[in-house]
Amino acid sequence: MKRNNILVGILLLALYLIVELGIRTGIIEPFQQVNLFLMGINIILAVSLNLIVGFTGQLALGHAGFMAVGAYVSAVLTLKLGQPYLLAIFAGAFAALIMGIIIGLPTLRLKGDYLAIATLGFGEIIRGIIVNIDYIGGAAGINGIPKYTNWTWLYLFTLFTIFAVKNFVNSTHGRACIAIRDNEIAAETMGINTTYYKVLAFSLGAFFAGIAGALYAHYFFLIQPVTFSMQKSFDALVMVVFGGLGSITGSILAAIAVTFLNAALINLGALRMVIYAMLLVIIMVFRPQGLLGTKEFTFRTLLRLKERGTANAKD
């Protein structure tokens, strides 16, 4: 196990260095760089949404709203108040977390699917409020945000998100969330405070969405209320479902695949979402746990596949 960890560490460092080198030498072109950044942001969004939808079983559709909170709060801090970037990122994330608690507490203590509508509504509330505040540019948005996000920041925060969610899921708290997903009544009977854990998972997801928003704002230097439309929330949901409800590595792979697909299908317009939506329904009807299900993609499964391959070859 220890050796595995070291191996993973080396691989992650190698990945970082290779991409950094690629950017420095210009092998990775600007268009590819944009997609690379979108990929990182999508991974953060998908993994954090998976914590809410996949691991805790609550349908949240307001990730774009939390992203907007993170983006605007951090942009105001760096651009208008001249605060350091790291502080701005965490301030944005904490603002999103607090919004998560405000939305989550009234809706998640109830049985039923109120969260889905409340989060959809929340996305609209946030956009409605932003449009009305002249200080942050109203409908025109904030322009000229310093471009602080580089590959190092993105990589670090993507890894931070992945490892934080992974460790959360494998902790007592995470187990409680999974128990709630599998059977809420049974979980309650076992003494789990279901409201507490649902709100915890939801606001934690919002926290990471806030980070994604802050990274986004400081890469594309222009944020507008229309940037954070419902479509973004749905994109994140598509990634979670494709990857598997309850699979972190699944979300990562799906986020990468969807980013590539988005770039490739950019000319299709609405047809792209028609295809995604159809896949969403088909997956839910035939494989409701998502493509990978709750399985994680690890080196061990790779090795096992290889062993099976050699065993089959012997036969």
Binding site: P106, I117, I125, A270, L280
Partner: protein
């Protein structure tokens, strides 16, 4: 005072449209506990069906309305058959995600088929403006029509649910699905009929919305759909009179906010209201507390 009456009238026409949409939500929720996210898109299809009925088939307003209702009802039933029925025994989450998928499919399919432009909705009924109170308050023939059609639809629905055999079956299924099945009720067809009824009402709402705003668009159902859900929750989800009351109330609140404060805060207030009602009285205004069965 004049502004108040004017906004009240606006709110009543908008509210009746919300009430019609909310009825569909609440009936489906009452029977299979599903938030039918695609409901707003069924409304959009109804509006387009009405549009084509007037422009291409040259039907008069009421025939076009009927045509739209039939098209939407069929659509609702097809959606239920293809997307929701196979998931009758899966988790709630799977069904909800499917509903989102269907909604996205219809939204973007609509954009693909009908184009992204706003189409002006034909004025099948001449628009006459009546003035009273020294001309300070006006009411259009369309507003009157919206209100009258809505009331007629509600009466018909109330008759179907309370007095007919299928209505009785619907109430039985919503009360206890398994017991209804044991009593020999064909639950599947009752669910189909519920979707058909709700979708037909959505079509009416779609056509009326087209008349109210005078344009239609593939994404026209998204916001009214969401708001109508808020209306359904406001009145008490699963309760038919609750959806009517919630719809009217929400329409009036929205009109008053636009009239006295700002139109841009309209949506903020509506969704803020949802959060508020979930904190204060989650069962809705007309809902009763029920104990949870394990």
């Amino acid at each position: 005072m004049e502004t108040f009456i004017a906004q009240l009238l606006n709110g009543l026409s908008l509210g009746s449209i919300y009430a019609l949409i909310a009825l569909g939500y609440t009936m489906v929720y009452g029977i299979i506990q599903l938030i039918n996210f695609a409901h707003g898109e069924v409304l959009m299809i109804g509006a387009y069906a009405g549009y084509f009925a007037v422009t291409i088939l040259k039907l008069n307003f009421f025939a076009a309305l009927l045509f739209a209702m039939v098209v939407s009802a069929l659509f609702g039933m097809i959606i239920e058959r293809i997307a929701y029925k196979p998931l009758r025994r899966s988790t709630r989450l799977a069904v909800l995600i499917t509903a989102i998928g269907v909604s996205l499919f219809l939204q973007n399919g609509g954009l693909q088929v009908f184009g992204t432009d706003y189409i002006s909705f034909p004025q099948a009924i001449p628009r006459v403006t009546y003035k009273f109170l020294d001309g300070n308050v006006t009411i259009t023939s369309h507003q009157i029509l919206i209100l009258l059609v809505t009331i007629a639809m509600m009466l018909i629905l109330q008759y179907i649910v309370q007095k007919t055999k299928i209505g009785k079956a619907m109430r039985a299924v919503s009360y206890d699905k398994d017991a209804a099945l044991l009593m020999g009720i064909d639950v599947d067809s009752v669910i189909s009929v519920t979707f058909a009824l709700g979708s037909a009402l959505a079509a009416v709402a779609g056509v009326l919305l087209g008349m109210y705003y005078q344009t239609i668009h593939p994404l026209m159902g998204v916001m009214p759909g969401l708001k109508a859900f808020v209306a359904a929750v406001l009145g008490g989800i699963g309760i038919i009179p609750g959806a009517m009351a919630g719809g009217f109330l929400l329409g009036i609140i929205e009109a008053l906010v636009s009239g006295y404060w700002s139109t841009t805060f309209r949506d903020v207030v509506v969704f803020g209201l949802l959060i508020l009602i979930l904190i204060v009285k989650p069962v809705g205004l007309l809902g009763k507390d029920t104990r949870e069965k394990v």
